[in-house]
C-alpha cells in the first residue's frame, strides 16, 4: 500500500500536541531558558537620530555602574563581525552593508551604536543611559515619495537617488495594446508602513559548548539560514555552531531575518567564552525589528465595455528603510508587488517598472503576505472601479476576468504556473454563503442607513506558497535555498522520530507533521514524535516563512516516510516469507495482504534493522531504519480565496464596524482543518488591523512617534468579528502530497476586502478611498470633504 489512498490522520482536526505544555505555562521561550552560571546580559544604546555622524562615544560613566563588565562600540566589532550583507544577485542591485554597531554614521532611529555587557539586565539597562554619544545631526529623507527627489539626502553615498534596485518588465507590444484599450482608469494606491509585532519580542542566548563550539538559542523561523549567516559573518565553521529554536512567540516574518544583535551575542560568546543573553523590550521591537509594506502603486488599467481587462500598467515603489536585511535583501516587497498583482486574473498585456528605495527609517523586510496584501489591495480596488465605471457589479467584473478551470494549468505572463483551482466557483460560493446579492438588493444608493454608510467589499486573491529553489533563484536570492528536508527514523523499539528542517512559531507543526508521517508510514500517530528547530539534529532546510511548511516540509516528510516504508516492507517480506508488494503498513505493523494474521510489528522489523536479537537482515540490505529526503517543490504553489465583508462606517465619527465576514478558501489538500482555520483567523485579524488601525508613524525628522503598544494599535477582541469559513479543496498536482500553503492567505484576503467594503460604503457620497490604513480621523475627513451642509443634516436625521 502506498498509504496515500488511506488518509487516516490527514484531513482531521486533531487537537494539538503543543497545547499540553503551553497551556500549563511550561513552554520554554528564549527568555525562559535557565541562564547558565556567569551569564552576561546585553543592552543596546540606540540612535535617537535618523541621520547623524557619530562624533564621539563616552562610555566611562557607564563602565562605573556596578555589574557592568564592558561597553563596546562599532570599532570593537570591526574585526569580529563582517558587515551584514545579503547575497543577492540581481541586475542594478546595490548592497547596503550594515555594521552590527553603527560606525561613523547612523541611518535610522533605533540603530544600535553601543552595547553594554553586565552581570544582570537591570545593570545593563542602567548603563545604557550613561553612554554619552555626541552626534552631528544630518538632514534625513523619510517618506517614500521624497526618496528619489534630486535634493534628497543620500542614505548611502554609493546609492544614487536612493534607488537600491529597479526593474522593469513588459509583454510584447505593450504600449500599442495599452493605447488600444477602450477605457483606461488611472489610480494611485498608497499602503502605509506597519510591522508584524509578535507578542514575544526577539531574543537570543549564546552558550559556549564543548571545545570551541557554541549553542545558539534564538527566536527564529530560519535556524539553518541563521547558522550559515553566523558562520559566514563571524568567520566560523558551521560545525562549531548549533542553532536551537526554543518555543517562539509568533514570528510572521519578523523572525525570519538574521539581526545584528544575534551576531553580536554570538561573537561575544565566542570571544569571552561566557553565556551571553539578550532579550529586547517592546520599544526596541517596534524600532528595530523589520517593518513592512510602505508601498506606492501608480496604476493604469485598460478594459473594454464588458469590463474585460485588456492591459495593466504599473509603476511601483517600496520603501526598504535604511538597510536591506539578511537573507532576503531588500528584494521581496519590490519584486513581489510587481509580480503577484496579476493574481487570479487572465491579464495578457502587462508592463511594470519597480523601484526599491532606501530612506532613513527602520529596515523593512518580510511580514506575513509580503507584498500580496498591498498588490491585491491595488488590483482589487481597480476591479471595483471598473464595475463602478461601467455599472457592472464588481463580483461580476471579477467573474469575467478570472482564470477558469478549463484554462488550468495556466501560466501567466510572468511565467507563474497555476496548476489547479476553480476561481469562478470560489467566487460564486462566496457570493452565495455571504448573502451578497441580498445585501446589494437592499443597499441604498447613498449607502446611508441609521447614521452609517454601509458597504460590501470583495477580495479575490491568490497566495503564492511553498516557493521552491527555482522560485528563489528567479528573484535573485542566493542564500535562500528553497528546499526543505526531513529525516524519518524508526528507533529500535519501533517508535518513529521525524526531524524536520522547519521551525514553528505557533503553527502546530508537532501535530501536523505527525499526521502526515503517520499516514504515509502506516504508523500509530501516538508513536510518532516530531522534532524541528535544531540544526544539531535536523537536516538542512530553508525554514518556516512564506507559507512553506506544509508544501516543503510536508513533501519531505512524505518522501522520507515512503522510503522507510519501502525498507520495512522488504525486511518484513523476508521475515514473513511474502512478496514486498503484498505487504501493507498499518497501525505500526507490516501485514501480509489478505492474511492479517501474518504480520511483523515495526519493532520486530527495527530489531532486525539494528541487529538486536537473532534476526538477520535480508541479503543486500543495509543496517538502520531511516531516510533523509530533501524536497524541492515547483517554482511556486498557488492557493486562492475569496473574502466578502460587510462594514458600517459611522457617518459622524468615521469609525468602522465589521458586520459580516465570509471566506471561501482553497489551500488544496487540508492536513488539519482546525489549524488551517486558525491560520486564516489570525491572518484576517492582522489584515483588519492593517486596514483599520496599524501604522508606523514617522515624523519629518525620522522619529518613530508611536513606538509603544499604547500608540501602535493592534486589534483586540472587540475589533475582530466571528468569521464564516468555507473550504474548497483543489489538491495541487505539482507537489508531493497535494498541499498548498495557507499561512498568509488570511491577511492577503482581508486587506483588500475590508478596504473595498469601506470604499463601497463611501462610494455613495463620491469619496475616493485609495490608501490604508483607514483610521477614523482619515475617514471622517473624507466624509466631511464629500458631504455638504444639507448632507450633514441628512446624516443626523438618519441617525435617529
Amino acid at each position: 500500500m502506498t498509504s496515500h489512498e488511506s488518509s487516516k490522520f490527514i484531513g482531521r482536526s486533531m487537537a494539538r500536541r503543543e497545547d499540553r505544555y503551553l497551556l500549563r505555562g511550561q513552554g520554554q521561550y528564549v527568555d525562559d531558558i535557565a541562564e547558565p552560571a556567569g551569564t552576561l546580559h546585553l543592552a543596546f544604546v540606540m540612535s535617537p537620530h535618523a541621520h547623524a555622524r557619530i562624533v564621539s562615544i563616552d562610555t566611562s560613566e557607564a563602565l562605573r555602574v556596578p555589574g557592568v563588565v564592558a561597553v563596546l562600540t562599532g570599532e570593537d566589532f570591526a574585526s569580529l563581525v563582517a558587515p551584514i550583507r545579503a547575497d543577492i544577485e540581481m541586475p542594478t542591485y546595490k548592497h547596503t552593508d550594515r555594521d552590527v554597531l553603527a560606525r561613523e554614521k547612523v541611518r535610522f532611529v533605533g540603530e544600535q551604536v553601543a552595547v553594554v555587557l553586565a552581570e544582570n539586565k537591570y545593570a545593563a539597562q542602567d548603563a545604557i543611559e550613561l553612554v554619552y554619544v555626541d552626534y552631528d545631526i544630518l538632514p534625513a529623507v523619510v517618506a517614500l515619495e521624497d526618496a528619489r527627489r534630486p535634493d534628497a539626502p543620500l542614505v548611502h553615498d554609493h546609492i544614487d537617488n536612493n534607488i537600491i534596485f529597479q526593474g522593469e518588465f513588459s509583454t510584447p507590444d505593450f504600449a500599442e495594446k495599452h493605447a488600444g484599450s477602450k477605457f483606461v482608469i488611472r489610480e494611485k494606491i498608497r499602503h502605509g508602513r506597519l510591522a508584524g509585532v509578535p507578542m514575544e519580542p526577539r531574543g537570543c542566548l549564546a552558550v559556549p559548548d564543548r571545545g570551541d563550539s557554541l549553542v545558539f538559542y534564538t527566536a527564529t523561523q530560519i535556524p539553518h539560514i541563521v547558522r550559515t549567516g553566523l558562520a559566514t559573518h563571524l568567520g566560523l565553521e558551521e560545525s562549531c555552531i548549533r542553532v536551537v529554536v526554543p518555543e517562539v512567540g509568533g514570528g510572521f516574518g519578523t523572525k525570519a531575518q538574521l539581526y545584528p544583535e544575534e551576531l553580536i551575542a554570538a561573537a561575544l560568546c565566542m570571544k569571552h567564552r561566557r553565556p551571553i543573553k539578550w532579550v529586547q523590550d517592546r520599544r526596541e521591537e517596534l524600532l528595530t525589528n523589520i517593518h513592512a509594506r510602505d508601498h506606492l502603486y501608480d496604476l493604469e488599467i485598460g478594459f473594454d465595455a464588458n469590463g474585460i481587462v485588456t492591459s495593466l500598467k504599473l509603476e511601483f515603489a517600496t520603501n526598504a528603510g535604511a538597510y536591506s536585511s539578511y537573507p532576503f535583501g531588500a528584494t521581496l516587497e519590490t519584486t513581489g508587488g510587481a509580480r503577484m498583482i496579476i493574481g487570479p486574473y487572465k491579464i495578457q498585456n502587462y508592463a511594470y517598472k519597480n523601484y526599491c528605495l532606501t530612506t532613513h527609517t527602520g529596515p523593512a523586510g518580510v511580514y506575513r503576505g509580503v507584498a500580496q496584501p498591498s498588490c491585491f489591495l491595488a488590483i482589487e480596488a481597480l476591479m471595483d472601479r471598473i464595475g463602478r465605471k461601467l455599472g457592472i457589479d464588481p463580483l461580476e467584473v471579477r467573474l469575467r476576468n478570472v482564470v477558469t478551470p478549463s484554462d488550468m494549468p495556466w501560466t501567466n505572463v510572468l511565467g507563474v504556473r497555476y496548476d489547479t483551482g476553480d476561481y469562478p466557483a470560489c467566487l460564486k460560493r462566496a457570493r452565495e454563503v455571504s448573502g451578497y446579492d441580498n445585501f446589494r438588493r437592499a443597499q441604498r444608493a447613498d449607502r446611508l442607513e441609521t447614521g452609517k454608510y454601509r458597504g460590501i467589499g470583495i477580495s479575490n486573491m491568490t497566495e503564492i506558497t511553498g516557493t521552491g529553489a527555482p522560485g528563489w533563484r528567479v528573484r535573485g536570492l542566493r542564500s535562500v535555498s528553497g528546499v526543505d528536508s526531513a529525516t524519518l527514523r524508526i528507533d529500535p523499539t519501533g517508535k518513529v522520530t521525524v526531524y524536520v528542517s522547519h521551525a514553528s512559531a505557533g503553527q502546530g507543526h508537532l501535530t501536523t507533521f505527525a499526521q502526515i508521517a503517520a499516514d504515509y508510514l502506516g504508523a500509530r500517530i501516538e508513536d510518532v514524535r516530531v522534532i524541528e528547530g535544531d540544526t544539531g539534529s535536523t537536516p538542512f532546510g530553508t525554514g518556516t516563512f512564506a507559507s512553506r511548511s506544509a508544501v516543503t516540509g510536508g513533501g519531505a516528510v512524505i518522501c522520507a516516510a515512503q522510503k522507510v516504508g519501502d525498507k520495512i516492507r522488504r525486511i518484513a517480506a523476508d521475515m514473513l516469507q511474502a512478496d514486498a508488494q503484498d505487504i501493507s503498513l498499518c497501525e505500526g505493523k507490516a501485514v501480509v495482504a489478505h492474511d492479517p494474521g501474518r504480520f511483523a510489528s515495526f519493532q520486530d522489523v527495527a530489531e532486525i534493522a539494528y541487529s538486536i536479537g537473532n534476526g538477520v537482515l535480508p541479503e543486500g540490505e543495509e543496517f538502520g531504519l531511516e531516510a533523509s529526503e530533501f524536497y524541492d517543490p515547483p517554482v511556486v504553489t498557488v492557493a486562492n480565496a475569496v473574502h466578502i465583508v460587510e462594514v458600517a462606517v459611522d457617518a459622524r465619527d468615521g469609525r468602522v464596524s465589521i458586520e459580516n465576514y465570509c471566506i471561501v478558501h482553497d489551500c488544496g489538500r487540508v492536513i488539519n482543518p482546525m489549524i488551517v482555520d486558525g491560520q486564516i483567523h489570525g491572518g484576517v485579524a492582522q489584515g483588519i488591523g492593517e486596514v483599520l488601525m496599524e501604522e508606523m508613524v514617522y515624523d519629518e525628522n525620522g522619529q518613530l512617534v508611536n513606538a509603544s503598544l499604547l500608540d501602535y494599535l493592534l486589534p483586540t477582541a472587540m475589533d475582530v468579528p466571528n468569521l464564516q469559513i468555507h473550504h474548497m479543496e483543489s489538491p495541487t498536482i505539482d507537489t508531493t502530497g497535494g498541499f498548498k500553503g495557507v499561512g498568509e492567505g488570511g491577511v492577503i484576503g482581508a486587506v483588500p476586502a475590508v478596504a473595498n467594503a469601506i470604499a463601497d460604503a463611501l462610494s455613495g457620497i463620491g469619496a475616493n478611498v485609495n490608501s490604508v490604513p483607514l483610521r477614523p480621523a482619515h475617514l471622517l475627513s473624507l466624509i466631511r470633504n464629500a458631504v455638504r451642509e444639507e448632507g450633514r443634516a441628512a446624516i443626523e436625521e438618519s441617525a435617529y
Binding site: 497545547d19 497551556l23 545593570a123 509568533g250 512559531a505 489570525g682
Partner: protein
C-alpha cells in the same frame, strides 16, 4: 541613582510562601520569573498594554509588569502554573485545547488568568461580555475567534460542574 538598596519581599504565590531580598524597583513579573522561577508569566511589552504578564493579585487579574514586587508585599499571587493538576487541565485550559484557542502560546497564560477571574465573577457571560473582558489582552495569532469560543464552552462546563 542608588541601586544597592534591597528589601525583603514576602509573597504567597500559588499557595506557597516565598521571601526574597530584592531591589525595590524589581518588577513583580521579574520576581515571579527570576527570583522564584515561575516562567509561565510572560513579558510582552512591559508597559501594561499587552496583558501577557497578567497574574491574579488577591484573586483579581493584574499586570505583573506594572507592579513592583514590594508593592504587593504580603499579597496572594496566583499564576498560570496553579491552574492545572499534573493529571488534568483546568476546564478553561481544556476548552482552549479543544477549541484551538492558542497558537504560539505566548499570550495564553495571561489570557487564562483574565478568563479565570472573569468566569468566577461572571459565570454565564454573553459573547459581548467575553469580548469586552478579553480586550484587556492582546493576541497576535488567533484573531480571538477561538478564544471567545473556548471561554464560552468553558463557562457552560463550569456551570454544569456546579449544578
Amino acid at each position: 541613582m542608588d541601586s544597592t538598596e534591597v528589601m525583603d519581599v514576602e509573597l504567597t504565590v500559588n499557595g506557597k510562601r516565598y521571601k526574597r531580598r530584592v531591589e525595590p524597583r524589581l518588577l513583580l513579573a521579574d520576581y515571579l520569573r527570576h527570583e522564584i522561577g515561575l516562567k509561565g508569566t510572560h513579558i510582552g511589552c512591559a508597559h501594561g498594554v499587552c496583558g501577557a504578564c497578567t497574574v491574579q493579585i488577591n484573586g483579581e487579574s493584574a499586570r505583573s509588569c506594572l507592579h513592583f514586587a514590594v508593592d504587593v508585599q504580603g499579597c496572594e499571587i496566583r499564576t498560570v502554573e496553579d491552574m492545572a493538576t499534573p493529571e488534568a487541565l483546568h476546564p478553561i485550559q481544556q476548552a482552549f485545547h479543544e477549541c484551538h484557542a492558542l497558537q504560539c502560546g505566548f499570550c495564553t497564560p495571561g489570557i487564562l488568568m483574565t478568563a479565570e477571574e472573569f468566569l468566577r465573577t461572571n459565570p454565564d457571560p454573553s459573547e459581548e461580555e467575553i469580548r469586552t473582558a478579553l480586550s484587556n489582552n492582546l493576541c497576535r495569532c488567533t484573531g480571538y475567534v477561538n478564544i471567545v469560543k473556548a471561554i464560552s464552552v468553558a463557562a457552560t462546563r463550569l456551570q454544569q460542574h456546579k449544578n
